[in-house]
């Protein structure tokens, strides 16, 4: 029973990170109809930026903030420079462009930083918490991870629902032509959507890197799991992305805990395959199937 609780909490903590990646993918998908395969690589790059800042300034939090800002800027630049020219073209063009970007960023990081694992500092202690003598299987840093992702998701939800910029973003995502006719500067909204997604990705990179270590490919698996979470959640729904992330985190944690850690990635990919085969529109959506 204690073991079960431990696996559940571990799973929720990992799931928060998948949720953050999933949310960033959903933001971009809803706004521009593009699946950004470079999302993980962009998060890797901002994590390296954080590491540089932390080395120089000896301040974790300065690195944290700079990485988030870098995510925002890189996301916006990617939309303007790389994605804008392929909008309105066949969807495969955008797929190839983002895969190209993935290879470019990972190659660049390899040139700059080499391929060795770097350790990445956590925000808070990674000593396991316990109640009395019962170990909970989670750390202060895990709690920070959960709170940070939930806060980011809540901030996004509030922005989308209650602010005029959020209304413009949603109108652009739902019906760009009508939004334009009402004077919404759609181009700016698309850039902003990518920037926000870049920020979320950067947050995920900061949160996961203490556990995975940082190297040019360290976000690849996280990206695939984040993508799986997004697909479980239906790819259209921000709430679905968070739930999908948590479900996936817990399932993988049980698999790893009870069956051995080597099956985790296998289970992750199996989950992706099963959802795509049997519920391509996600577990929670009632929408009809669409091409992915």
């Amino acid at each position: 029973m204690v073991e079960f609780l431990e696996f559940t909490l571990e799973g929720l903590s990992a799931g928060m990170i998948y949720a953050a990646i999933a949310l960033s993918l959903v933001l971009i998908w809803r706004g521009t109809g593009v699946l950004n395969y470079a999302q993980g690589a962009m998060a890797m790059l901002t994590s390296f930026i954080a590491l540089e800042v932390i080395y120089v300034s000896h301040s974790y939090w300065l690195g944290f903030v700079v990485a988030l800002a870098a995510g925002l800027v890189i996301g916006g630049i990617v939309e303007r420079v790389v994605i804008r020219p392929v909008t309105g073209k066949p969807p495969l063009n955008a797929v190839i462009v983002t895969i190209g970007l993935l290879i470019l960023i990972e190659g660049l990081a390899g040139l700059l930083y080499g391929s060795n694992d770097r350790s990445f500092p956590p925000a808070f202690s990674i000593n396991g918490l316990s109640i009395g003598s019962v170990a909970l299987g989670i750390t202060r840093n895990d709690i920070f991870t959960g709170v940070a992702v939930l806060l980011a998701a809540a901030a996004l939800a509030v922005t989308f629902r209650y602010t005029s910029i959020g209304l413009r973003l949603r109108a652009t995502a739902f019906n760009a032509r009508v939004a334009r006719l009402l004077g919404v500067r759609v181009g700016r909204m698309l850039t902003l959507g990518w920037a926000l997604a870049g920020l979320l990705g950067a947050l995920a990179g900061l949160l996961v890197s203490p556990a995975t270590f940082l190297n040019p490919n360290s976000m690849d698996t996280i990206f695939v799991l984040g993508f799986t979470a997004a697909v479980i959640g239906g790819l259209e729904s921000p709430a679905g992305a968070v739930v999908g992330g948590l479900v996936l985190g817990v399932v993988l944690s049980y698999a790893g805990g009870y069956l051995g850690s080597e099956v985790v990635n296998l289970f992750g990919l199996a989950a992706l395959l099963l959802v795509l085969m049997f519920r391509p529109s996600g577990l929670f959506s009632s929408a009809q199937a669409r091409r992915v």
């Binding site: 209304l167 032509r177 009508v178 334009r180």
Partner: protein, 238 residues
């Protein structure tokens, strides 16, 4: 609200290489309704898209009260005071009625928005009742009211209406047309009305324009067009 004259001068435009409109000229005088009539494929909707900036013109100009609109993007044309109510899919059905309206109000100063919204609800009681429901739950007539109300929310000087009566029950059609006439009378809006239903459009219009295969056949006072039996039978089908 100021009255504004919209001038379309020698516009040639289309999709790809083949022009749909050829040297179309029309002047929508301030505070009048101009009905754009013609068969399917005559270029009526294309004319509105040429005005609103969705289509690049290969020749000609669009000018609103001396301000050149041609060459601007749709969001800038709408900011200049031209509201286009597109045919059919104009409602953003995922948003609520209130959100659709708020979207129209975004071009106004923040301080004016609340008052403007209650003005709209006063004029459109049916929308007030449904304000917090998703727009997808509205009937066809209610949707048409919503897109017109939302266009008015932008405080336009020119209103472009594309087939506002399409798919509506006859009783609702007359309500919509009545609303359009009141917008002209009460607010002094300049209205360009594209209609398949020529008879009812001419009944409320000041000027009629008949398009055929992308060129202007005739521009004349609405009453004169309605009285011209040969023209009616040939181009307008009534």
């Amino acid at each position: 609200m100021s009255e504004a004259t919209l001038v379309v001068a020698g516009v040639t435009a289309g999709y790809g290489d083949a022009p749909v409109l050829r040297e179309v000229s029309v002047t929508a005088a301030a505070g009048t309704i101009t009905a754009v009539l013609g068969a399917n494929g005559a270029g009526k909707t294309t004319l509105l898209r040429a005005i609103d900036g969705s289509l690049k013109l290969s020749a000609g100009r669009v000018v609103l009260d001396g301000t050149e609109l041609s060459g601007r993007r749709p969001e800038e044309v709408s900011r200049a005071g031209v509201a286009h109510v597109p045919e059919g899919q104009g409602v953003i059905s995922e948003l609520t009625v209130a959100e659709n309206l708020r979207l129209g109000l975004l071009l106004r100063p923040r301080a004016d928005r609340a008052a403007a919204l209650s003005d709209i609800y006063e004029r459109f009681a049916v929308l007030a009742k449904r304000r917090n429901l998703p727009a997808s739950t509205l009937s066809g007539g209610e949707r048409q009211m919503l897109v017109i109300a939302r266009a008015l929310a932008t405080r336009p000087r020119v209103l472009l209406l594309d087939e506002p009566s399409l798919g509506l029950a006859p009783k609702i059609v007359s309500e919509v047309l009545d609303l359009i006439r009141r917008l002209k009378d009460e607010i002094g809006l300049t209205i360009v009305l594209v209609e398949q239903n020529a008879r009812s459009a001419l009944a409320i219009a000041d000027t009629g324009l008949v398009l055929n295969l992308g060129t202007v056949v005739v521009t004349a006072p609405a009453g004169q067009l309605a009285a011209d039996e040969a023209l009616r039978r040939h181009y307008l089908g009534f």
